[in-house]
Amino acid sequence: MKMRSFTVLALLLALVACAPQQPANTFVASTKPANELRSMQTRVVEADRETTARGVIATLQDLGYRITRADAEAGTVSATRLTGLRLAATVEERSRNQTIVRANASVLALGRETQVDDPNFYQANFFVPLGNTMSRNLMVAPPDGSGPAARVRWLNVCRGKDKRRQHPANRRLPGRDFLSEGFGDHVEY
């Protein structure tokens, strides 16, 4: 009986040792200065916090993102598009009728999550549509208008990621990253 238990234990240990390690996604942060990054990612909206948060959600849905997380108290919204592009936005009250919106995007591929630091992306692919959805002009935030800074980086690590990874659609397989999805012919976005 003891011998059998030992054999089973040895087999289990061998299996664990041979199992492929699932590498965690390493975050590759932008190398641009913090004030430059904050400037491209932040705008001021002439609206209250709740209206702005709802405007952000409507804009993301218009853009084809899937909302993965929304928190009214924290003022955060996380969303994913094409499984490889993630965007997290925070809304923070600046004054009675002004809200600061900060967006932070990253691309998930090849076991890395790389921060997007092109001002054209934030302007053309988020703030212009947000202004159109809300029918408001968005203003560039003054240098002191510091919205949420470092914490935004981690917001798009969506809840339930581990559960989703178990699904065949989310397993890391050859050609299963954004290179096959984003630029492939069959992607309908």
């Binding site: 590759v28 709740e50 948060a53 709802r54 959600i57 409507a58 849905q61 218009d62 853009l63 084809g64 993102y65 899937r66 909302i67 993965t68 929304a70 928190d71 009214a72 108290e73 919204v77 598009r81 094409l82 499984t83 490889g84 592009l85 965007l87 995007a105 990253s106 691309v107 591929a109 090849l110 790389t114 921060q115 997007v116 092109d118 054209n120 992306f121 053309a124 692919n125 549509p129 809840r159 989703r164 699904h167 065949p168 659609a169 989310n170 397993r171 397989l173 050859p174 050609g175 299963r176 290179l179 096959s180 999805e181 984003g182 630029f183 492939g184 069959h186 992607v187 309908e188 976005y189």
Partner: protein
């Protein structure tokens, strides 16, 4: 992969391309939206949650203060016709001496994003529902698709209205 490593700007280039606004965004919004004549947004969200559960979705996110619901469900994507067609092609080509690996859809993950927006001046609530799916074929390759045929959203709204009616709410 090597190409990505050499081009330091690859993430920005991908984000600019993949994150561009959809050309048919306005039509999609109209197709995926409906107006419900009731003042209580929470009542509508509760009914929408029930319908999603009836349809087999697991609710993954619920933020009623912002009018957000998100869910997902797994489904087998195998279609007999597609498999039979692919095998027939493989057999036909094999007779001609050509090797062909038959490809068919195997698994799919269907995701839903549902949002509500109160139209206070009209005493109504607007709801929008978007579906998408990720399909993995028998070779392990995946593709993402929007499920934007009108039947998906209209069928969903119909079920929500029926559910509200069963509770004595006309919307």
């Amino acid at each position: 992969m090597a190409g990505c490593q050499q081009n330091a700007n690859w993430a920005n280039e991908f984000a600019l391309k993949a994150g561009a606004p959809l050309p048919n965004a306005a039509q999609l919004r109209e197709r995926e939206s409906a107006r419900f004549a009731l003042r209580n947004e929470t009542t509508l969200l509760v009914e929408a949650t029930a319908v999603l559960q009836d349809l087999g979705f697991t609710v993954e996110e619920s933020a009623p203060r912002l009018g957000v619901l998100a869910g997902a469900k797994d489904r087998d994507a195998t279609e007999v016709g597609q498999v039979a067609g692919q095998i027939a092609i493989a057999v036909g080509l094999a007779l001609l001496g050509v090797q062909y690996n038959p490809v068919w859809d195997k698994d799919q993950l269907i995701r839903v994003t549902l949002t509500t927006f109160p139209l206070r001046s009209e005493g109504a609530v607007k709801m929008r529902v978007s579906f998408e799916r990720i399909v993995v074929n028998n070779q392990g390759l995946a593709r993402a698709e929007r499920l934007d045929a009108p039947e998906f959203s209209t069928g969903f709204f119909e079920q929500v209205r029926k559910g509200l009616a069963s509770r004595g709410i006309r919307a």
